[in-house]
Symmetry: C2
Subunit: 341 residues, 2 copies
């Protein structure tokens, strides 16, 4: 354990590339004095760290949609924090901000890629890591832009109890569609239907997803928002409506695989149904974030959209176990590590 003083920044560096599930020893804890910002820069005290399935991919070597985290580099993470020291006029002390501050207690920033939180809105700041942040934008643009959802259509979302999935489902209901989701376990499924208004929920651990989906959406699904991959992707492909759109947002079932991952056997459904399968990366929408955040904030303030979050309180030492909650399917909604700062 490192000595913790108010002037110490503790951070987790990537120490080795994981094989299969990431384990604690894949990171290294380092302490350093809290840096003093240069002109034009500021220091953020990190309050809450966002945990995302994509983190596992960032730990692999080889460029994906963004470069991997380098060995010896601070583990990449989106986070919410407060400016505690500043030589940047746009970011005065006391400003609440979100950005890719990493798994550390203090981050120095030039403001690049940093969003200032509007503290006039009556929503908790953590929502900016959830439905008003990248999570919400992923759901919104994936559904409406890549998925070309139209009111009256039927949507199937996998990983529906997760941060993105639970937001997708709620947006479908707000915009006037039918939504069916998959989740692991009866409790999560009940939550989706009873609390979030899903039209149906399939427990992939105990039910045949393809058969249940056929029953719940006999006309097929117009948009399949896939966060999961694997067998559930195949089940969705076998239940497409004509000209359906399959949004490839993630593949959480595959991220920790040590074998060559299976491809979707039923991809030829794309031919039969003249359907489209398309990848979606939210970073491409950086310039259009307001398009999503404006309606999402509006719906949240009207009580139509819930920011579902799952908060673990602890130090950054808790990061590895908290990340595992995602891959073990323990979280409901956005997984956050709250540093209590």
């Amino acid at each position: 354990m490192t000595d913790v003083s108010p002037n110490t920044n503790r951070k987790l560096l990537l120490d080795r590339r994981p094989v299969g599930f990431a384990k604690e020893s894949d990171w290294k804890l380092v302490s350093e004095p809290v840096p003093v910002p240069d002109e034009g820069r500021f220091v953020v005290r990190v309050r809450q760290i966002s945990l995302d399935p994509a983190m596992r991919g960032w730990m692999n070597s080889g460029r994906s949609y963004i470069p991997p985290v380098a060995i010896g580099e601070v583990m990449r993470a989106f986070a919410l924090g407060e400016v505690v020291d500043s030589k940047a006029t746009d970011f005065p002390v006391g400003t609440l901000v979100t950005g890719a501050f990493g798994v550390q207690e203090y981050a120095v920033s030039s403001g690049d890629g940093v969003s200032v939180i509007n503290q006039n809105l009556d929503v908790p700041a953590s929502a900016y890591l959830g439905v008003l942040g990248i999570t919400g934008a992923t759901a919104y643009f994936g559904l409406t832009d890549v998925g070309e959802f139209q009111p009256g259509q039927t949507v199937f979302v996998s990983g529906a109890a997760g941060a993105v999935g639970s937001t997708v489902g709620q947006i479908v209901k707000i915009l006037g569609g039918k939504v069916i989701g998959t989740a692991g376990g009866r409790a999560k499924c009940d939550f989706l239907v009873n609390e979030l208004g899903f039209d149906g929920a399939i427990d992939y651990k105990s039910e045949n997803v393809g058969e249940e989906l056929r029953r719940l959406a006999p006309g097929g699904v117009n948009v399949f928002f896939d966060n999961v991959g694997g067998e559930i992707l195949d089940a969705g492909l076998s239940n497409l409506a004509m000209r359906a759109r399959v949004v490839v947002c993630g593949a959480i079932s595959q991220y920790n695989s040590t074998e060559v991952t299976a491809g979707p056997t039923n991809y030829r459904a794309l031919l039969v149904k003249r359907a489209r399968m398309e990848g979606m990366v939210v970073f491409d929408y950086e310039d259009r974030m307001a398009e999503a955040v404006t309606p999402l904030a509006q719906w949240m303030s009207e009580g139509k959209l819930n920011n579902i979050e799952d908060i673990v309180t602890g130090s950054i030492l808790e990061f590895p176990q908290t990340l595992m909650r995602l891959f073990e399917g323990q979280n409901v909604g956005k997984q956050i590590l709250d540093l209590g700062a």
Copy 2:
């Protein structure tokens, strides 16, 4: 052997659903008198039958993009023929027509789905089964509409020595792009490069498709027109440029499989590259055929576009062996059975 008289129509009926490759005994030869047309109908003497990989799929039970051929029904086939008896004013005796006349010597038609061949153009009638018919339209709309090809872009086409593939490659060159194809064997590859102007050709039987494609298209491919599926689909997916379009036109490598077919392991490249994979069925373009045929006929008359065809002459008894040529990769260009009628 059935007695053949001028008034006899011989036809092949589907007799059983094949397992694996279709064999001669999956069809039954039947003879009947040539029918006399009712009012509004006409009789076509079939001259040339088009052989298409999709035929194998039509023989399976279960609806695909069109219903299967029923047991006891004439085997479905597109064909070119001449009106020899008519009670339909729009189709006088002597008219050359194409349509889904089936594997038989004479067909009765109401004109539904039948195209009259413009005999004023200086092109062989068989071209209407090839580049000026469904083959050409598949290539044209798949490339320009689903594939959203733009001049200057790089296209990868699998099954490039086939009817559709050889047309796709030629259209890319006419419209000003770069095209790389796969084919089985050095001779076919040389033909693609030397005769059709392909920028590169990969012999999938002796070369590593993924590696060769990376070498020939180091910036990745903007449009991947896939007729083949299987390992070549994966190789193409691993070489996509950003925002690439994968046109799923066929999967000839999989049609005769008796096992569950493999899915594209690399489908997650769609996410990394924000790419799209979309199914294409030419029948959806029925109302837009002129959009394709007009430029295709123009290019053909200018000598820019070649109608590559592979003609077997024989009776309809030759149909089963001629179909096998497609799956054994023996054909170059459009496979046709010419009845010598």
